[in-house]
């Protein structure tokens, strides 16, 4: 066991699990309470367009995917202000167009042999030092913004019309939450892949909601649960030679089922 921990790739995987768990615990809570899950799904899948651009033009993967996600996020945010009734259509469009763009660009890249499955389903054991550096910066930015403007973000998330009346810049904070969600999705792709990222942004948060009396505690509980699921998934993935992303999601889902059953039994009694 201790020998396993001495491998650099295992150490990186554990550090990445800690960082991404905190990031998804905080941002996932905001995604869930703001009812942005479908919207985040759209951003996650459109991220494949950014991956395709990075591969085709030989750009740094994290940077180009992040910029592409920010572009898509701002587009969706603007649409939600002007064309709220058509927002679902736009999300569906970015979802499909982003993925199609990514696949075509990868097809057009000569001699490309990399394993695209790792972007779709994650590869925690392949996290590099650069990835960890990027995750650390994002975590610091998220903690800085969310805790400095906690009251404004709480107010916008709970009752945006009332927040606006009290002088809170609701559009600014709504867009900020969306951009942070986009960046969270980019770093989570490494851990669970873009197809499964929504599960990491929702399952731990849903379980945390059973016993959270405030948004802050929801963020803390969700981060701890996410870390536990990621580490258990990582152990299963390493020992049984399974894909890390699906292992983490299956572990999370089992605990969700247990938590839900426990809640129902408690309510019935």
């Amino acid at each position: 066991m201790l020998e396993t921990l001495s491998y650099t790739f295992i150490q990186n995987a554990i550090i990445a699990a800690v960082l991404v768990s905190m990031i998804t615990g905080i941002i996932g809570s905001l995604v869930v309470v703001n009812k942005m899950v479908f919207l985040s799904g759209g951003i996650a899948h459109s991220a494949y367009g950014g991956i395709g651009l990075a591969i085709f033009f030989g750009l740094p993967m994290l940077l180009s995917t992040s910029l592409f996600c920010i572009f898509v996020t701002i587009l969706i945010a603007l649409a939600s202000y002007k064309q709220r009734e058509n927002l679902d259509i736009l999300i569906g469009l970015t979802w499909a167009v982003g993925m199609s763009l990514g696949i075509i660009l990868v097809d057009l890249t000569p001699g490309y042999q990399s394993d695209l499955m790792s972007y779709l389903f994650g590869s925690l054991l392949a996290v590099s030092s650069d990835d960890i550096y990027y995750m650390s910066i994002l975590l610091v930015v998220i903690i800085g913004i969310v805790f400095t403007f906690y009251r404004e973000i709480l107010s916008v998330s709970y009752d945006s019309e009332y927040a606006s009346l009290r002088g809170v810049k609701t559009r600014f904070f709504y867009t900020t939450i969306l951009i942070l969600s986009g960046l969270t999705i980019v770093v989570s792709i490494k851990v669970v892949g873009l197809i499964l990222v929504i599960a990491l942004l929702t399952i731990p948060i849903y379980i945390a909601s059973f016993f959270s009396k405030s948004l802050l505690w929801m963020m803390i509980y969700a981060s701890l649960l996410s870390l536990f699921f990621s580490l258990v998934g990582l152990v299963l993935s390493y020992n049984f030679d399974l894909s890390s992303g699906p292992s983490i999601i299956i572990v999370s889902s089992i605990f969700l089922l247990l938590a839900f059953t426990f809640k129902q039994i408690r309510r019935a009694s």
């Binding site: 309470v33 009812k35 805790f147 400095t148 403007f149 906690y150 009251r151 404004e152 709480l154 107010s155 998330s157 709970y158 009752d159 019309e161 009332y162 927040a163 606006s164 009346l165 009290r166 002088g167 809170v168 909601s209 959270s212 009396k213 405030s214 948004l215 505690w217 929801m218």
Partner: protein, 250 residues
Amino acid sequence: MQTTTNRAIEVSNLSFSYEKQKVLQDINFTIQEKEFLAIIGPNGGGKSTLLKLLLGIHTLQQGQITIFGKHYSKQIANIGYVPQNTNINIHFPISVLEVVMMGQNSFKKRIFGYKKEEKIQALETLKKVNMDAFASQSISELSGGQRQRVFIARALFSNPKILLLDEPTSSLDAESSKLVYETLDALNKHITVVVVSHDISIILQHATRAFYINKKLFNHDLHHIQKNHLDKDAHICEVELLEMLGAKTC
């Protein structure tokens, strides 16, 4: 109940349209300080639009609104607002105290956490609506009537001189509605209360004056209605009321 002649709200020649659909037409009225005013009328008649114009949520297209003699946009801080809350997620993880402190006009403290004085002020405000015992509870654990009193406390947190309420009892049972209106009666000793509601019989027991709005405005003093009708029969029907207000002829 009216103890002063100071004008709290003055609206003149107000008209408002959504795209080409006229919702309010040539509205003129004055509300005195410490009045308890009811705004009634059919759905789509312009009641909520009028409230949103007073709050500055909608931009004024035609006419003038003054609050305590000044342009309404400079007096938003003096207005407490209790919205319909139809879009609020009732399972949101937030404590009663946190909801009340959202009533702050601007969040002066830019780092995480709440000042001790703010918490004390929020507790004092909760006392005004008899909800201080629930301060640390999650809002999702409260009944509809208790939640509504918390929203009234949120509106009162910044010590407004006018309280506007949009359908405050629309989803409440009779007992909870009664408690909400008793709270409003107590508050009305110090501030002006304006309620938009469909609940005509209960409104008549508490309000001193009513506006019936259906694009245009009809104004009526309710004192004699209360004396002559409500003491005998609290279940006054809408048609009767409209006749009394003269709105049937519109």
